[in-house]
Symmetry: C2
Subunit: 211 residues, 2 copies
């Protein structure tokens, strides 16, 4: 059955990015270590990377797609070059409407102005029997957790305390989780939790996952 | 070799206690789940509990010992009754000097007014060849991490997002960690990290642990 998943690379103290995020350092200063496991050792983490890219549709925040409003005006096409790694529809949350943007390799960016609920509903429809992945950043993940639309949370915890930056779980109310699995390598600890639904969701039929 | 350890029960979003901590709810509202693994299923977590209680001396903050200043004046002897579970010297950080307080079963509370460095130094001396454990609460752990005196951090992560409360790692600067072990049960995920020392400590000879 199709579920909504969320993969986040995070420090032990709960940051998903450092400070001063910019073009040449999209994760911000000091936060390179959060994704070392994925970029430097993909073979050792093939199962987790495969689970991320298996989704049938993605939802992401505007900052994950591009740097501010300017990018829209200048024809910005995302951080990933001509062939983004999604190979599926990607629904970008924004306040600024824009035409669909088809890229090479099966990725099409759709720009959604109706908020998280609309983005997730359209992603579910596009994904069919496959999962929908909330791709980040932290603000979007927090919004989706607070809205109760995430079924499975997969934290990729890098062994570092960052001390400052963008915080995961900010503004997310009390939520029950159920441990699903854990795996540790020298570069990362993979923690998977099912999200316990506080109340039945009218959008989906998968409330059997709730505690 | 003797090291300084720190065990903390924490939620997935990094809280060590809920809000409104008081006499009949010392962890605060909503945070009972943080210690369920230890209180309800001690057999299933005997190794982790044993590692905590094996320390030769403990350091704790004033709030972990008692509720505010009043407790001192009224002859407060801690939360734990006549025989506290430490069975070793416990060094309590406080601004209010007080005579040593011997309890049944080998626990003696010593009240230290000279700050973390003095408390850890006295605990090291008292522990001899055994480890020193930083017992909490979060503010004391954060102070010890910031001071660079912790060698091993053992997080006991309960599967819940609390949303608010007392935060672990607040004010702790950027720090490298090295994954040591992980173990998951339905009630908790045990994560052990060695703390990478940024610079040699003049207090100890165990810098071989540093990265």
């Amino acid at each position: 059955m199709s579920i909504v998943t969320c993969d986040m690379a995070v420090s032990v103290d709960g940051y998903t990015a450092g400070t001063d995020q910019r073009m040449d350092a999209p994760f911000g200063d000091g936060a390179e270590g959060l994704t070392t496991w994925m970029l430097d050792e993909p073979q050792a983490h093939a199962a987790e990377i495969g689970a991320i890219t298996a989704a049938g549709a993605f939802v992401m925040g505007r900052n994950m797609f591009g740097p501010g409003r300017g990018g829209w005006d200048l024809g910005w096409t995302g951080w990933w070059g001509a062939e983004p790694p999604y190979h599926a529809p990607v629904f970008v949350l924004t306040h600024h409407a824009r035409e669909d943007l088809p890229m090479e390799g099966g990725t099409t960016f759709h720009f959604v102005t109706g908020g998280v609920d609309e983005a997730v509903a359209r992603a579910r429809e596009a994904a069919g029997d496959r999962d929908v992945a909330i791709a980040g950043g932290a603000a979007t993940v927090n919004q989706c957790l607070a809205a109760g639309v995430v079924d499975e949370l997969r934290l990729h915890v890098a062994p570092v305390l960052l001390g400052r930056g963008e915080r995961l779980f900010e503004g997310v109310p009390r939520t029950g989780l159920v441990p699903v699995s854990v795996r540790q390598t020298p570069l990362v600890t993979h923690l998977t939790y099912a999200v316990a639904r506080a109340q039945p969701s009218s959008r989906s039929g998968d409330d059997a996952r709730a505690q």
